[in-house]
Amino acid sequence: MGKRYAMVIDLRKCVGCHACQVACKSENNVPLGVFRNWVEELETGKFPNVSRHRLPRLCNHCENPSCLNVCPVKATYQLEDGTVLVDYDRCIGCKYCIAACPYDARFINPERNTAEKCTYCHERLEVGLQPACVNTCISGARVFGDINDPNSEIAKIIATNAVTVSKPETNNRPQTYYIKADEKALRPNLLEIVTGGEK
């Protein structure tokens, strides 16, 4: 089996410092108002029975990406190692990929005027570095690597822990694995949102 990059995020270690979000912005020159990588923070329950959760989000570099399927000009493409990238010179900015992504991972870069998202810091990988968010994570909650290599750290973590992904019911087969993520963080609580908290 060839390489297959993926990321695992251990939420037992995440402290919610948002350093990954800042590192991503700085590494990739992401303009104000849009994010390739962000951390959701939420509190559930009623005092005194409450808990607080975080969920760092980024492109899931899905095995079967919706964005790739709907792109009318094949500007979105997938490398052998699973990384999903956008050809910024070909993208026409129709925003179909943004509408089709189940994870809100994409946006229009207001300066470049094309679709954009996390690239796993492709240019860093090419010179043997880790993605900026992984590199900067203060607690080592993020681990990036080749899940097809049984000796890699990420393969071992996924094999020995209970992991979840966001919205597994989609046929996307997302490749960001979470350890101890809260179900209420992995997907929006739509019923609560539309009913204003009555249900």
Partner: protein, 388 residues
């Protein structure tokens, strides 16, 4: 159990009014073409009287529809990439070829419809004659064989046009229906709902345009056209019935589907109730349906016009509710995403509507609109704009 997000990353709605209006225009075009094909393709004699009005409307509305998309692109200069790179899994990629093929077939169809009248118009002289001369490309043959050929070609191109009209609007249903991320859109009914609402709004606008053209070209609404309009109002009633039934089915299945589907149904009923129930379904479908139930009302021109306008408003609301409403439910985070139409978008939409109305008016006044049962008057009064 309540969940509070402390840190929400803002997301915005990227597909706005322009996309909804694009769907609206292609729907009007497909609907009006199918109506006109009733005469030439399906052989219902009385509809041959209005083929010309309908085909011009179908071509122009379809020519202006993709402008909305062009203005919506973040990189409009690169739209040619759509032709050079094809992605067979993308419904949008299918559409590009339909959007080219459909108006081309329609133009051939229209040319054979207008040819004989343009040849007849050559003797009258003036600017119109020179336009006709150019448009005829030298094909002035008026022999019986040539006339039979015109009829044959009308039927051939019309027959191709019907499935193309269905496809050009059906594919837009796939654009939304193929998005599995959003329960709102992800239903196999979507292309059929789009088609039926296209028939409803297409008939509505067609009735209004037909009346304007008849009024300004021939000075009055003939009894034959009045009878035809009440016939079309009857068709519209049936289209509304099918479209309304589809909407009910869509809603029921949404209500009983997974959590995101149920939430979408709840959202439509409560949060968007005014627009979904009130504008789209009661005012846009139920009221015109009830009005057109009565045979007397179908013969009453003002009531037919009112119903037509209501269906157009209703279908426009439906396009907006589906396209924009479908993106209001968040995929991550915890907030309903609000949409505010930008001034730029509204300006573009109004600009395109005015431009389409002007081009339609010019074409209707220049082209020979003679039809079985009515000849053009010698001097044609200056016509007012055709409302969109």
């Amino acid at each position: 159990m309540s969940t509070v997000h402390f840190f929400n990353t803002p997301h915005q709605i990227y597909w706005g009014l322009l996309i909804a209006l694009y769907f609206f225009y292609t729907g009007l075009s497909a609907g009006s073409f199918i109506l006109t094909s009733l005469g030439t393709v399906f052989g219902i004699e009385k509809y041959k009287k209005v083929s010309k009005v309908g085909v011009i409307m179908a071509i122009i509305l379809l020519a202006f529809a993709p402008l909305h998309l062009l203005f919506d692109l973040a990189q409009p200069g690169r739209f040619l990439n759509l032709f050079t790179s094809v992605n067979p899994t993308s419904a949008m990629s299918w559409g590009i070829y339909l959007l080219i093929l459909y108006p081309v077939v329609l133009m051939f169809y229209a040319w054979y419809l207008f040819r004989q009248d343009m040849v007849n118009g050559l003797d009258k002289g003036g600017m119109k004659a020179s336009i006709y001369k150019f448009l005829l490309f030298g094909k002035k043959d008026m022999s019986e064989a040539a006339k039979a050929n015109d009829k044959k070609k009308q039927k051939i191109f019309g027959t191709f046009g019907v499935p193309l009209a269905l496809l050009v609007h059906g594919y837009t249903g796939f654009i939304l229906g193929n998005v599995q991320a959003r329960a709102f859109w992800h239903t196999p009914l979507m292309p059929i709902i789009f088609l039926m609402s296209a028939m409803v709004s297409g008939t509505g606008l067609f009735i209004i345009v037909l009346m304007l053209v008849e009024k300004f070209k021939f000075g009055k609404l003939g009894d034959d056209i009045k009878a035809l309009i009440s016939d079309m109002a009857n068709l519209m009633k049936w289209f509304i019935l099918v479209d309304g039934t589809l909407m009910v089915i869509y809603f029921i299945v949404l209500w009983y589907s997974g959590e995101s589907g149920y939430a979408a149904g709840y959202f439509l009923l409560h949060n968007e109730g005014w627009s979904f129930l009130g504008l789209e379904n009661i005012l846009g479908l139920l009221v015109p349906f009830l009005l057109m139930l009565s045979k007397k009302a179908r013969k009453n021109i003002p009531l037919v016009v009112l119903s037509s306008i209501l269906t157009i408003i209703g279908v426009l609301a439906m396009r907006i509710n589906l396209v924009i409403g479908g993106q209001k439910l968040p995929l991550t985070g915890s907030k309903i995403i609000e949409y505010v139409a930008s001034g730029r978008d509204i300006t573009i939409i109004l600009g395109i509507a005015v431009a389409a109305a002007v081009v339609l008016t010019i074409l209707y006044s220049v082209l020979p609109m003679n039809r079985p049962g009515a000849e053009e008057k010698k001097s044609i009064p200056v016509s007012k704009g055709v409302e969109q």
